[in-house]
């Protein structure tokens, strides 16, 4: 997900690679595990990072990234700030449907320290969908995992007839209503 990475395309047809960027590592790990438990017809390798840019010493080990998921904890302004600074390091081509914002912790309304509006604006500015969820809840976590797996399939060009770009424009339509 770093600038310049896209030149180095190593397409392994059955290996998809989402990248999670976010500061709450425990939640990240749990979501990653849930995703791996999902039944699907392709392999997934998940890369977890606290922020971007990624450390360059591991560049040669990193496969092509298909989807970048920015996790924002609605309870922590720090996490939003972290994501905002990280966004600058994402190659522009990713914003054609391969980025999404995952807002976590929305189950606890009283603890919110970020306004929903601020995140939605971020989504609009970067032409990327915003998903809201509460990963502490098993059911929601599973549903979110399924959703991300579907998006991942689209982003990697695995679903015939739907490209990442067409998918994200579909998402935008529903947002504008």
């Amino acid at each position: 997900a770093v600038r310049g990475r896209c030149a180095d395309v190593r397409l392994s047809a059955l290996s998809l690679c989402p990248q999670f960027v976010g500061s709450d590592e425990e939640l990240q790990r749990r979501l990653a595990e849930t995703i791996l438990q999902e039944k699907k017809d392709f392999n997934i390798n998940i890369h977890l990072a606290t922020s971007l840019p990624l450390p360059s010493e591991r560049d040669h080990l990193r496969p092509r990234i298909d989807l970048v998921v920015f996790m924002i904890d609605i309870k922590s302004k720090y996490s939003l700030k972290n994501v905002e600074t990280s966004l600058a390091y994402v190659d522009a081509s990713y914003f054609l449907g391969k980025v999404c914002f995952l807002v976590t912790g929305v189950g606890r309304k009283n603890d919110c320290s970020i306004e929903t509006n601020a995140v939605c604006k971020l989504g609009e500015a970067y032409c990327s969908p915003v998903l809201f969820c509460e990963l502490e809840l098993e059911g929601v976590r599973v549903a979110t995992a399924q959703r991300l797996v579907r998006m991942l399939g689209i982003c990697a060009g695995h679903i015939p007839g739907v490209s990442a770009l067409s998918f994200v424009s579909l998402m935008r339509k529903s947002n504008d209503d």
Binding site: D24, R29, A32, I44, I46, A49, T50, S51, S76, S79
Partner: protein, 346 residues
Amino acid sequence: MDETVAEYIRRTVLKIPRDEIKMMLQKWGFLSEAQLQTLNFHQIKDNISQEVVQLCEENSADIKQAAALDIIYNHIYQNKRMWSVYQMKKSGEELEYFDITDFKKKFKRRLRSALKNVTITFKEYEDNAIWIRVAWGTPHKKPNQYKPSYVVYHSQTPYVFISSSVLKSTLPLLCQALIVASNYHDIREMELRSHSLNSLKDIVFKRYSQNFQTDTPKPLQGGNVETENADIRIVQENKSEKERIHRLNQEVFGSGPQPKLEFAQYRLETMFKSDPKMDVLDKKEPFRCLVKFSSPHLLESLKSLAPAGMADAPLSPLLTCIPHKARNYFKIREKKGLYPESFVSP
């Protein structure tokens, strides 16, 4: 037996959880084993307390015994009270042999000379701690047994732990009596408070494992960071960063469990600075602001902030100096040049 004594014993018994009443009465030792046998502990607490009062009536208990039971209760449930640490200072270096009877005598004499109506009770515990309970009256009123002060004093140390009475005016008297009785010259509050008396002791007696800044950091053994994932399909990109955070955390907090504090408070007394041309808020008034961190276990939460990715490592020294400086209430003044921006909010 005095009616107020009976009522006080009854209420104290009511505070104790039912299955601990027998144990506490045994510790108290005022009722004989034979008397305890006659008590039925399998009924509602109200009835148990009535029976206990009846037995105390037989033994003609007075307020001294009632106060002793209260100390036993508060020693076991010490976390229900808020404790504050005081440090005493000597003027000379003379080392004196500590005599407990002398201490008690002087303490009582000093308090009684100032206020006739006080109930003073001592109890010594195995760890060299002397527990003192003082119930305060006025020149014309009997002591109020329901608003006592508790003092825990370790005779070999200059530290005193006080859980003061809600009657605030009694605190200076208590402090005076303490320095007179223990041959000290001065006493001051350390601005260190918690519900956990043992944690306060751990901090001031330096009983917990903390690597102070002067210590050379121990080399980190490989694979020490507990972020190893069993699943090879999950790749942790920021491994070296995590190791750095882990190392910094070890340096600041040590590897052991942290003492238990519930609060850290920072009071700002700084001037508001603005462009003089703007001519707003350019008053000589200090900028009033109070930042309060609270958590059931503050130091453990601070320790986990950076590893959980909620704050940058290392944390502000204002937060990490708490056990080192043995205080959790701070005043921030102009000269030091510290601003709220340097805080990391959890």
